[in-house]
Amino acid sequence: MKILLMEDERETAGYVAQGLQEEGHLLSVAEDGRDGLFRATGEDWDLLIVDRMLPVLDGVAVVRTLRAGNIMTPVLFLTTLGGVGDRVVGLNAGGDDYLVKPFAFAELVARVTALGRRRTTMAAETVLRVADLEMDLLGRTVRRGKQPVELQPREFRLLEYLMRHAGEVVTRTMLLENVWDFHFDPRTNLVESHISRLRSKIAGQDAPELINTVRGAGYCIRAPV
């Protein structure tokens, strides 16, 4: 992916840029809001990573201007620790996702991947499939092979989110935000216990495990190789 990173702090910018380049992305860095806005409008990007606090023109203003100019490139906001209400402001300005600094690198990679894919698969799907697991989004039913799987609404949402991001790493925080709408870090193993319950529900006899735990990052649903 071709990514424009707007970050004024050199060290963070270097860390993010290098890491994402290692993941196979093309990175450009803009050090202030005006430069960022200029380059975001001048070229075609797959993703913009925007720090909220930028010199000259702050991140929210940059994104608001872009959206007003009908430039719909996905935007991932970066923000500093503990901002109450910052997330809402960022998303209202036209941001697509939000990440609080400091973050685990795996978290950034997972979100970048999720945002990059969002563009290509916007087509409305009615059936999601991973190996022999099938989810009918219209009928709200799930089947493993021929066996129907009974899920509670929240479990359905959890599985749906995983399946929509099949093959990608989905972090714990992404699940908390998108499935439970929790924008904080619970002190209990909330996600883990729901995942383990979901695993046991979709586990067929002798069928291979579909939901994989990616150590230090999150979960990934994929067909066994």
């Binding site: 620790l81 209400g85 709408d181 929790f182 904080f184 002190r187 230090g216």
Partner: protein, 481 residues
């Protein structure tokens, strides 16, 4: 102008200067400029000035009305006299008039003037020199000579009428009474004015000194506080006046500031203490890895553990910042109407799995249709913290219940468990930052969960009410409608 014509000696004996001198010597410690600088004394001066102007205005009005009244009296008297003379001499011509006027003029008391002239302007009778015959009411200034010297400057007011054979009759009275009256009025006004100014200045001085003393007491206390004596408070007189109210408000403010300062001091030392432990652990771990890690695997392990340590420290920082931000949020910025029932139901549903894994039971007793204006992101965190608190501190087999009902005072939400509970004397303490019960020291956690919950509750105009459920702990929140 009148004031200066009738000084009455007052200005010299009790003039404002003398009064100020008096105050000056009487309160040498205050010093004159100090008194003059006080707002209340300046107000007094302003009011004294205004009052003087109004007194002068009143004087002018009274003088004007009394002059008009006396002039009218004179006019009437003169008119009656003329009518009498004319009626008496009816048909007897100028000669008859002359006979009538002559004795009158001779016997006229001082200040009464008669004049009869023929059409050539020759004086036939009267006690005044010839005049240009003017008809109707007019005034004449007698020359200031002879025995009427004391009446010099007086004005004679009278009426001239045409009489038989082209004659001219004038009867006039001088304004003696008028002058007397004006003088009396003016004199009394000067006294009143002098007394007014004196009273105003004296009263103003007394009032200013009183006010200044009280204000001085407040600023002295403030200076002491600035100097570091935070425990100082402004004395309240018990008179229940506006100064007492002000003092009470200021004292309340000082109490609040002091408790905040106290809190801040505690928090900073708590932060220092609570972060030192994980930081030193982290340091040991890194040093150990540096010295002992022989393989890449062990090094990675050590690094992972270190990252986890750093994350825990960052968690603490994050929670602290969040609490600080929520507490600073006086305005309910992100508030919107939300379905509390649905939100709580979702919380129960989310945590049931977690509780069941630990062999606990989480039940919800939530009334439907509870709507509340609140923060959509913070409220879940509040309840999540309370539920997790119960889950983490209760043993296996415990029953946790989340109940929400509409009460008279608002929406009442209870998070209750039958776990070990909290000793009654510590129920307030557990809400403080970093406070952890002895038995939970060893479990992971920031010690900030309940503080954060309390901060969010505060933002929603409610508080965490902890009580002993015997056995267990009940945390109750009443969200006002």
């Amino acid at each position: 102008m009148l004031l200066f014509r009738h000084p009455l000696g007052l200005r010299h004996r009790f003039g404002p200067r003398r009064l100020l001198d008096l105050i000056k010597t009487g309160h040498a410690s205050l010093g004159m400029p100090r008194l003059l600088r006080t707002t209340s004394f300046r107000m007094t001066l302003l009011y004294a000035g205004l009052f003087t102007v109004s007194v002068l205005l009143l004087l002018a009005v009274i003088l004007w009305f009394s002059t008009a009244y006396i002039a009218e009296q004179i006019d009437r008297t003169v008119f009656n006299e003329i009518v009498e003379i004319v009626t008496e001499t009816e048909g007897r011509g100028l000669q008859g008039l002359r006979d009538a006027v002559s004795p009158l003029a001779e016997k006229a008391p001082p200040g009464v003037y008669y004049l009869l002239q023929d059409n050539a302007g020759t004086v036939l009778a009267g006690n005044m020199p010839r005049v240009k015959p003017v008809l109707g009411v007019w005034t004449w200034a007698p020359p200031g000579t002879g025995k009427r010297i004391e009446r010099a400057g007086r004005i004679v007011r009278g009426r001239g009428v045409p009489v038989a054979e082209g004659g001219y009759l004038f009867v006039g009275l001088d304004g003696f009474e008028l002058g007397e009256m004006q003088e009396t009025i003016t004199r009394s006004f000067v006294v009143i004015l002098a007394a007014t100014i004196m009273l105003a200045l004296a009263g103003g001085a007394v009032m200013s000194l009183g006010l200044q003393r009280r204000v001085e007491a407040i600023s002295r206390t403030s200076r002491d506080i600035v100097a570091g004596d935070l425990g100082r408070r402004i004395a309240i007189r018990g008179t229940d006046d506006e100064f007492d109210h002000l003092a009470a408000s200021l004292n309340a403010m000082l109490d609040r500031i002091e408790s905040l300062m106290q809190g801040l001091r505690e928090v900073s030392s708590d932060i220092a203490h609570d972060l030192r432990t994980p930081l030193s652990r982290l340091r040991q771990r890194l040093e150990l890895a540096r010295r002992r890690a022989l393989s890449v695997e062990t090094l990675h392990e050590a690094l992972d553990a270190s990252i986890a340590d750093v994350d825990a420290i960052l968690d603490t920082f994050g929670a602290l910042l969040r609490i600080a931000q929520i507490e600073a949020h006086t305005k309910a910025a992100g508030f919107a109407e939300l379905d509390m029932s649905e939100m709580l139901q979702a919380m129960v549903e989310a945590y049931q799995t977690v509780a069941e894994e630990r062999g606990q039971m989480l039940a919800g007793d939530i009334e439907a249709g509870l709507w509340l204006v609140g923060d959509r992101e913070l409220l879940p965190q509040l309840f999540s913290n309370l539920i997790e608190n119960a889950i983490r501190h209760c043993p296996s087999g415990a029953r946790i219940e989340l109940a929400a009902h509409l009460r008279a005072g608002g929406i009442e939400v209870d998070v209750a468990d039958d776990g070990p509970g909290i000793p009654a004397d510590l129920t307030e303490k557990v809400l403080q930052r970093f406070f952890r019960l002895e038995r939970s020291r060893t479990t992971p956690g920031t010690g900030l969960g309940l503080s954060l919950a309390a901060a969010i509750a505060g933002l929603h105009r409610t508080r965490l009410d902890l009580s002993d459920k015997r056995p267990g702990l009940r945390i109750r929140l009443l969200f006002p409608r």
